[in-house]
């Protein structure tokens, strides 16, 4: 029996390759995603562990990887470092000057690394990490040891087009805007790469001049433990000599903090990618199911013969399952290899976005290998089980019958009833989500959506019938007999057509649901911008980093500028929870009139206004005191004087900018709102403002339309990324069409011969097969787009707090339909050419 099974496999090479391809692609995607996620984690782990010293002295209340803001002005004096060095537990104490919010300009004046990954600027010192290895490795040239010298990480130097000896320009968040340095060398974090971040190392006094206004002081101190001293002992000892407002933490704590923050971000990426792998695998499962169904129905005679010769049902079932097993084994193995390549492709995509992953960490881990085989073999066996059972049900007498294949029956009444019930259950779940049943609305709708997609996939032969009939009628009209034959072919085995189309349907359902959400998001943003963009111009950095106040100073001097309002954001602990607070100047009230629920918008001194939702979160109201702790350890009690309706104009906790300054934060601006003076020409003013930031690509001046476009661009970027990931599922579905058509053509060899004998030309034969393919594609697309549309609308409804507008991406849907037709045409190429190459006589002679 096993030998027969293996013979079957070898004898059907082409079919084998095509159906295996579905497994290869699905598993390849899964393995690629897992490998990539692992590599991503490993990259950050290596960097974090490789760049953390035994212990770190920092200001109290500060957290590693602080996202934004100009940081504190509270500094470590050199005497403190001297005192630390004298401790017996301390082997070395190195003062560090860290600057955030800086950018590196390339030789062409463009930003290096975009605005995604951060640029870390600090002074060079030769400290070691927790493992006792140097934190930084010199790749070429030398370390900076003179003011005016700079050392960049290798990849940034390359991306910026810089060679040693070149002039390198940095954009700085405080003080001077641009400063140039001489490149003296390149380096890397120990542990490989920088994950896309830009490293810029300066000589210590230069770093102090740039970031600390020339004070001889440091922002943090890296401590190295003496022999035999633990991290905790080191940190505890250091604490005894630290002034108020500073603390020492162990290297392990720094690593844990970093892991936690980075980990969340990596998990999101990981789950996001795995979701697409799951879609691809489900689509692949449909194709495997379909392929085996067809193979089994074509082998009815052989199965019957086996049964007639005494094979038991179980043996026939097993022979099919064993065939599936070997296919899955082969497919999963090839999938793993493909996954390795794919993970590199993903890494390249992310690299282009500024997230650099070294090739060395992209390796197949045992977990990935096991997952790939378990999923690959499991899914294939499950998909092949039903067809295998069907093969075993063939009566031995079928061996004697003349008709070659047993027509697969249309769906029975019972199935239709069950399907209808399932659709209703799905609808009920979605309804429950929409009317706000307990728990997350989106979870209810998601569960309903999954039931819908699966049910529609299974019921495609019934639900799709009108589409098939419409296609037949249309093709008959346009292409005559050839079109009618094609339409009939798609209809003759609705189950097969339906199952093939289902694979495409799943992909397109997700595409159109995502499309609805994205269109609604864009529409919501448009409405929001329309309502809330109230100044003539906004000056911001796309990454919402701060920029020097000098820009605002210069803009104030521009002719025609009427009012200019500055805002500065900062991380802070509000009632002990991390938050992002906003400081605004007095001019703010002249540009923005907030919709006040209670109290007043006017703030001065230690006062604050809260958004309605934030007031709810904090359980605060007008008159309440809210404690806000700033980086550097200062805590200020702010009196709430007003509650405003939620708005994106300002943060949930808004206070006078002076509060931030008094708390020791260095001033910079995160947003400037500008109104032109009465009678001034808006276009001229914009041109003049643009000129101010001409050399500073991180800061842009935008009017309403520009801002709207910017946001739309960001939404679209995400959307295209999702579409890109879904493309794989669609490609797998197209392979399914190729497979089904190919098998159908083989099955209909005699019919093809007959048609050719009575006068069907090669060209028209190809047309016939192409039209059948288009019918399948259109069926999948129509079902998918309709289901996706419904799901998207329901999801949007459940998210209506955030997505206030509903928009249907109708033109995109038409585009998808057209793309589906194109895919249909492409899928038909190989089967059509094969069919038209068949010799008329061979076709007739085939028994």
């Amino acid at each position: 029996m096993l030998r027969l099974t293996l013979r079957n496999l070898v004898a059907r090479k082409v079919r084998l390759v095509m159906s295996t391809l579905a497994i290869v692609l699905g598993i390849g995607f899964l393995a690629g995603v897992l490998t990539f996620s692992h590599g991503l984690g490993a990259t950050f782990d290596n960097i974090i562990e490789g760049s953390t010293s035994d212990a770190l002295v920092r200001t109290e209340g500060e957290v590693s990887f602080q996202a934004s803001g100009a940081g504190t002005t509270k500094l470590v004096e050199p005497q403190v470092i001297e005192r630390l060095r004298e401790l017996p537990e301390v082997e070395a104490a190195d003062g560090s000057v860290d600057g955030v919010g800086a950018y590196l300009l390339g030789e062409d004046g463009k930003l290096v690394g975009g605005t995604g990954a951060p640029t870390l600027v600090f002074n060079y010192y030769d400290s070691v990490n927790v493992a006792g290895d140097p934190i930084l490795i010199l790749e070429s040239g030398q370390w900076p040891d003179q003011p005016g010298e700079i050392n960049l990480d290798e990849s940034s130097a390359e991306r910026g087009g810089y060679e040693i000896g070149d002039e390198v320009t940095l954009l700085l968040p405080v003080g001077e805007l641009r400063k140039t340095f001489e490149l003296v060398g390149t380096s890397n974090f120990n542990g490989g790469g920088t994950a896309g971040a830009t490293l810029a190392l300066l000589e210590t006094s230069e770093a102090q001049a740039v970031f600390l206004g020339g004070q001889d002081a440091y922002t943090t101190v890296a401590l190295t433990a003496a022999d035999g001293v633990s991290q905790t002992e080191l940190a505890d000892a250091a604490k005894t000599v630290l002034p108020d407002g500073f603390t020492a933490v162990t290297g392990q704590k720094v690593i844990d903090e970093s892991d936690e923050q980075i980990g969340q971000f990596l998990d999101v990426i990981g789950y996001f990618l795995i979701a697409f792998a799951v879609i691809a695998i489900v689509v692949g499962a449909f194709i495997i199911f379909n392929t085996f169904s067809i193979l089994v129905s074509q082998r009815v005679r052989e199965s019957a013969l086996l049964r007639a010769l005494g094979a038991s049902r179980r043996q026939v079932t097993w022979s099919v399952l064993v065939e599936a097993f070997f296919m899955a084994l082969l497919g999963s193995t090839l999938g793993l290899l493909l996954g390795l390549g794919l993970s590199r492709g993903l890494a390249a995509v992310f690299r282009a976005q500024g997230l650099d992953i070294a090739g060395e960490v992209l390796v197949l881990t045992p977990t990935t290998v096991i997952a790939a085989y378990v999923v690959g073999i499991g899914i294939t066996m499950i998909a092949a089980f039903v067809p295998a059972r069907r093969a075993a049900k063939v009566a031995p007498v079928a061996a004697l019958r003349d008709d070659l294949t047993v027509q697969e029956k249309a769906l029975g009444r019972r199935r239709i009833l069950l399907g209808t019930i399932a659709l209703l259950v799905g609808a009920a779940l979605m309804g429950a989500g929409l009317i706000g049943a307990p728990g997350a609305d989106a979870a209810w709708i998601g569960a309903g959506a999954v039931i819908w997609v699966i049910t529609v996939a299974v019921m495609a032969p019934v639900l799709g019938h009108p589409v098939l009939v419409a296609c037949r009628a249309a093709f008959d009209k346009v292409f005559g007999t050839t079109g009618k034959l094609a339409g009939e072919n798609a209809l003759r085995n609705p189950r097969r057509t339906g199952a093939t189309a289902s694979a495409l349907m799943i992909g397109l359902a997700v595409v159109s649901a995502v499309g609805v959400l994205a269109a609604s998001l864009s529409a919501t943003n448009d409405a929001l911008v329309d309502r809330e963009f109230r100044s003539d111009f906004l000056v911001q950095s796309p990454s919402f980093q701060g920029f020097p106040t000098k820009i605002g100073d210069e803009m104030e001097q521009v002719d025609g500028v009427g009012t200019i309002s500055r805002m500065q954001g900062s991380v802070a602990l509000v009632k002990e929870d991390q938050d992002f607070v906003m400081g605004v100047d007095r001019a703010f009230a002249r540009i923005y009139e907030l919709d006040m629920v209670r109290g007043t918008q006017d703030i001065s001194g230690d006062q604050a206004i809260l958004s309605e939702s934030k007031a709810g979160d904090l359980d605060a109201d007008v008159g309440t005191q809210v404690p806000v702790a700033f980086p550097g350890g200062q805590t200020v009690d702010l009196e709430v004087v007003g509650i405003f309706e939620d708005t994106p104009i300002t943060g949930g906790v808004t206070m006078p900018i002076s509060v931030l300054e008094d708390a020791g934060l260095r001033r910079n601006d995160s947003t400037l709102s500008i109104n032109v003076a009465e009678g001034a020409d808006v276009g001229e003013v914009q041109a003049a403002l643009d000129k101010v930031v001409e050399d500073i690509p991180v800061v842009t001046v935008q009017d309403k339309e520009g801002f709207s476009e910017l946001i739309k661009g960001q939404v679209n970027q995400l959307l295209f990324m999702i579409y890109g990931l879904l493309a794989l599922a669609v490609i797998i579905a197209v392979i399914g069409i190729v497979n089904t058509l190919g098998l159908s053509v083989i099955e209909r060899t005699r019919e093809v011969g007959l048609l050719r004998a009575v006068g069907l030309s090669r060209r028209r034969l190809r047309l016939m097969i192409t039209l059948e393919s288009i019918t399948i594609a259109v069926l999948g697309a129509v079902l998918g787009l309709v289901v996706g549309l419904l799901i998207g609308v329901a999801l949007r409804q459940s998210l209506s707090d955030d997505l206030t507008e509903l928009a249907l991406p109708l033109s995109s849907l038409v585009v998808f339909l057209v793309i589906a037709v194109v895919f249909g045409v492409l899928a038909a190429i190989v089967p059509a050419v094969r069919a038209s190459r068949m010799k008329v006589l061979d076709a007739i002679a085939t028994e």
Binding site: T481, T482, L754, V758, G759, S761, R762, V840
Partner: protein, 258 residues
């Protein structure tokens, strides 16, 4: 040169073979399925081709019907030499001037009887001549079944539909390869009777491959094939005469093998 005047050949030849040779395989495994066949098939005649299994009957028919290309020699249908025609021209020739009836699997399962009958005309984009269509349908006697699909008809009915399809485009010649091979004697008689009438009443030309003497006795002329050669011929055949010739042929074959 390739396109000789259509029809109206003075000698009334519908199709002819000139020294046709068809070789399958190479060297050791070489089979001469046709070994120099020269024959004229006359217009308005019902010709039967007989011979032992493997004697080359089907191969001869395929070569004459533009379904296969001979290794050497020339096949002419309705005055057109097939030798140098490309696939497209061959397709058109089959569609417009040749009718086919195969032993089995004659009908497209997705089409109704009527659609199957009209298929060659539809493919050519032509309208049927209503009077001719009616005459053919009445002759096969399946008018009430026109809307049925092949799966809803018996084998004999299916073969009669196939015959109607072969005739409806008024081809110059109809080729039938064992059209009754799968049928019982009653159904066979219906199909053969119909072919006979199409020659008598409509002046059709029919060439039929068969190994059944009863079937051959419906014809005007029987050609006997053995080892890829035409070895004998009978006019106005009777069943007994046919049986006798067949007997002689198979005796010859046995003695040669022995």
């Amino acid at each position: 040169m390739t396109e000789q005047p259509t029809g109206g050949a003075p000698d009334g030849v519908a199709a002819s073979a000139h020294d046709l040779v068809k070789v399958y395989g190479t060297e050791e495994a070489e089979v001469r399925a046709l070994d120099g066949v020269t024959v004229d098939l006359m217009k308005g005649e019902f010709t039967a081709i007989m011979g032992p299994s493997g004697s080359g009957k089907s191969t001869l028919m395929h070569c004459l019907a533009a379904l296969d290309t001979p290794t050497s020699g020339e096949a002419v249908v309705d005055g057109t030499s097939l030798g140098r025609l490309k696939d497209k021209a061959l397709t058109n020739l089959r569609r417009d001037r040749i009718g086919f009836v195969f032993q089995a699997f004659n009908l497209v399962p997705t089409l109704t009887a009527k659609e199957n009958i009209l298929l060659p005309l539809d493919l050519a984009g032509k309208k049927p001549d209503p009077a001719w269509f009616d005459a053919v349908i009445d002759a096969i006697g399946l008018r009430p079944r026109l809307g049925h699909r092949p799966s809803e008809m018996s084998g004999g009915q299916q073969q009669r539909v196939a015959c109607a399809r072969a005739l409806v485009s008024r081809p110059s010649i109809v080729f039938a390869d064992e059209p009754t091979g799968n049928l019982d004697s009653t159904s066979s008689a219906e199909v053969l009777g119909f072919l006979r009438r199409s020659v008598d009443d409509f002046g059709q030309t029919v060439v039929m491959v068969t190994h059944d003497p009863v079937a051959a006795s419906y014809s005007d002329r029987v050609l006997f094939l053995a080892d890829g050669k035409v070895v004998d011929e009978l006019r106005e055949p009777h069943r007994d005469a046919i049986l006798e010739r067949m007997g002689a042929l198979s005796d010859a074959a046995t003695s040669k093998a022995g």
